[in-house]
């Protein structure tokens, strides 16, 4: 599974530019489902047909990035955030554009350590000598993402874009492991989550699921002096209780918890004080959908070096497979 995760995280795909990552996922899903389609916004919808409850599983393909808003006379690129990008995450890191152009970050008053670092006082240096040269490679509106390889840290992994390529990996692996299901399973790889859960909104509207489960990363509280959060790496995937976009319906939470307990899959309960996931958009679709989220505990989310534990990922796959084996119509969905 590590190879899959490596390939997915290293692929370029900021919000609105999910074509490359979608192609890769499409190839992986080929043969595992009965039907595949890409909708208007670019969501990849893979359907494993069945007569039972319609289950929508969602993981977002997009990652955060930076968008060029100005090329100055000296060839430096000014930029804005696409999704939750913070200045301290960027400085000294490298980014890559869709065409392979690489850049690094600089800041105004470069020697000074005083004052708050702000995006509008930073710029991208792609090595261009002037505006003319920079304009050959990069245009206003082009989006770059972190340029970073995956590394193995013992039983843990570090990479960019675990948010949410790890969710994509979990869904792909679930599709591989799921021999049959009494339910109709919709594996949905969504777009534009990082800019406001947009892909999940339109795909859920189209699918009209009986139950929705998103798979995404969540924060942890297990690092030195971290804000209190009862989630640790390696203690199992999380059953989300609430975040800023959803209060998981008890019925969905209980389904996840009882499945984990009966199959002896380790799990943690997650209360995330900030942030949200596609689950938020799905549960408010049309007249409402019972929806929840299974999260992978991840440190340093939205940085180029997020860290997670591979066992949590494997256990998330087990949990998804066991849930999908159940006849969810009989469970009341």
């Amino acid at each position: 599974m590590k190879d899959l995760i490596k390939e997915l995280t290293e692929t370029y795909g900021p919000s609105g530019n999910e074509e490359l990552i979608r192609n890769i996922i499409e190839n992986k899903m080929k043969g595992l489902v009965d039907e595949m389609k890409t909708d208007t916004l670019g969501n990849l919808i893979c359907i494993k047909k069945g007569k039972g409850a319609k289950v929508m599983l969602a993981a977002h393909m997009d990652e955060i990035g930076v968008v060029v808003n100005h090329i100055d006379k000296k060839g430096f690129l000014r930029f804005a955030a696409v999704g939750g990008v913070f200045p301290t995450y960027l400085l000294a890191h490298r980014v890559i554009f869709k065409n392979g152009i690489i850049g690094t970050f600089g800041k105004e008053e470069k020697g000074s350590t005083k004052g708050e670092l702000k995006l509008e006082k930073m710029f991208i240096d792609i090595g261009a000598k002037d505006e003319k040269e920079a304009s050959k490679y990069v245009h206003i509106g082009d989006v770059a993402t972190y340029y970073r390889e995956l590394d193995v840290l013992g039983s843990r992994l570090t990479a960019k874009a675990f948010d949410d390529r790890i969710g994509c990996a979990v869904l792909i692996e679930t599709a591989r492991k799921l021999k049959s299901s009494p339910n109709a399973v919709y594996f949905v790889f969504t777009v534009q989550e990082e800019v406001g859960l947009r892909g999940a909104k339109t795909s859920a509207y189209g699918i009209e699921p009986d139950i929705g489960i998103a798979c995404d990363v969540t924060d942890t509280g297990d690092t030195p002096e971290a804000e209190t959060m009862a989630v640790e790496l390696g203690k199992g995937p999380c059953v989300k209780v609430k975040d800023r976009t959803i209060i998981t319906p008890l019925k969905v939470k209980e389904l996840m918890v009882s499945t984990a307990e009966s199959k002896k899959i380790p799990y943690q309960l997650e209360i995330l004080e900030w942030g949200g996931t596609d689950g938020g958009a799905i549960h408010l679709s049309r007249s409402g959908v019972p929806a929840g989220v299974i999260s992978i505990p991840t440190r340093y989310v939205h940085t180029p070096s997020e860290v997670l534990d591979i066992a949590d990922v494997e256990n998330a796959v087990r949990l998804f497979v066991e849930i999908l084996k159940k006849n969810l119509k009989k469970e009341g969905f």
Partner: protein, 371 residues
């Protein structure tokens, strides 16, 4: 032959020159002048978010003979439809009728009107402006004390909106209540006028300019069907577009906007957002939407093929109706094309007639090349 108001013949500039006029036949000349007169009417009209009736009536009167159906929905959107035989994706064009402005929140006992903003207005632009208030459009002044009566330290500060009042010349609360009620709207009392070089100035170019262009587009004939939607309450959260898109269910949508131009002097070598006179502004992404890439490419290709100047909007600032249209139901292919306007969301903006003309042309040609 038509009479020529506004000294049109003396204009020169940017695609709207004397020479250009000379080339127009009487019918085109008449139409161009009608267009300018219509943007004047729209700009001067009173239509703050939630109170768009005057603008809607103006538009309705102007286009009722050019469309096959016209209706106002429950929230106040004006939804028009032109039928056509040729098969094409279902297209919706949208422009918002509302402008930013004010609402009267309290009438004080000595007759002053306390007010708050509706939509985004920088409080630095408020002092010493003339406003019109309520259905009777009575004039008021957002007054501040003169230098004679203030200290330097006071003059160096921005006066907060809660410390400002509208003065309608009322003797007391009872007198004021003859003209104004709590909950009445107010907006800047700015008269539209022409400037040199084919420029125009007035209030509410965001988005009466879009309304003017959409009105003109609906007067043309097309071989395919078209929805023209004039939305309400964009400035308070894209509300009209939310329900209009749900109802129309377009496959393709273009939003016509008046967008912020930043071509005034700034020291740093940073994005100027857009320049007045340099053509229609194409949006890649803003805070509300990531536009459909195929539509963006199509706009650019059509512009280049036809020699229409264009520029890009500075990414990730502002938001438009396209945000709601793009994510309506199962999603819509949506793009935004804007006329750059300096100083929007203030008592007076400046825009270029040539940008308007080029925006209209670019949308018109793009519509005809949709597959």
């Amino acid at each position: 032959m038509v009479s020529v108001p506004y000294g049109c013949c003396a204009m020169d500039n940017r695609g709207f020159s004397r020479h250009y006029f000379f080339l127009l036949d009487n019918e085109s000349l008449f139409r161009r002048i009608t267009e300018i007169m219509f943007i004047e009417k729209l700009s001067n009209a009173f239509g703050v978010s939630g109170n768009e009736d005057e603008v809607r009536t103006l538009i309705e009167d102007e286009i009722k003979d050019s469309v096959d159906s016209i209706e106002t929905d429950s929230i106040g959107n004006l939804i028009t439809y032109k039928s056509g035989k040729k098969k094409q994706p279902k297209v919706m064009l949208a422009a918002h009728m509302d402008e930013v402005g004010f609402m009267i929140t309290n009438i004080e006992k000595d007759g002053w009107l306390k007010f708050n903003t509706v939509g985004g207005i920088d409080q630095r632009v408020l002092p010493s402006k003339v406003v019109m208030v309520g259905d009777k459009k009575i004039r008021g002044v957002i007054g501040i004390p003169p230098p004679h009566l203030t200290k330097k330290s006071e003059r160096d500060k921005v006066i907060k909106i809660e410390d400002l009042r509208i003065d309608i010349g009322a003797k007391n609360k009872e007198d004021a209540e003859k003209y104004v009620k709590t909950g009445d709207y107010a907006t800047f009392a700015t008269n539209f006028s022409r400037m040199e070089n084919g420029l125009i100035k007035g209030k509410a170019f965001d988005d009466r300019i879009g309304c003017a262009i959409l009105t003109e587009l609906l007067k043309d004939t097309y071989p395919f069907a078209l929805y023209g939607v004039f939305t309400v309450q964009e400035e308070v959260g894209l509300r009209g577009a939310t329900v209009a898109a749900y109802r129309v269910e377009p496959e393709v949508a273009f939003v016509l906007e008046g967008t912020a131009a930043g071509d005034f002097p700034i020291k740093k070598d940073l994005s100027k957002a857009a320049h007045v006179g340099k053509g229609p502004v194409v949006t890649h992404m803003d805070r509300s939407v990531i536009c459909d890439k195929e539509l963006v490419s199509l706009l650019i290709n059509i512009a280049e093929k036809n020699g229409i100047p264009y520029q890009f909007k500075r990414p990730m600032i502002g938001g438009t109706d396209a945000g709601k249209i793009r994510t309506a139901k199962t999603g819509t292919k949506a793009a935004v094309l804007s006329v750059p306007s300096r100083y929007i969301h203030s008592p007076v903006s400046i825009a270029s007639l040539s940008d308007m003309e080029n925006t209209k042309r670019l949308i018109s040609l793009t519509l005809r090349s949709l597959k």
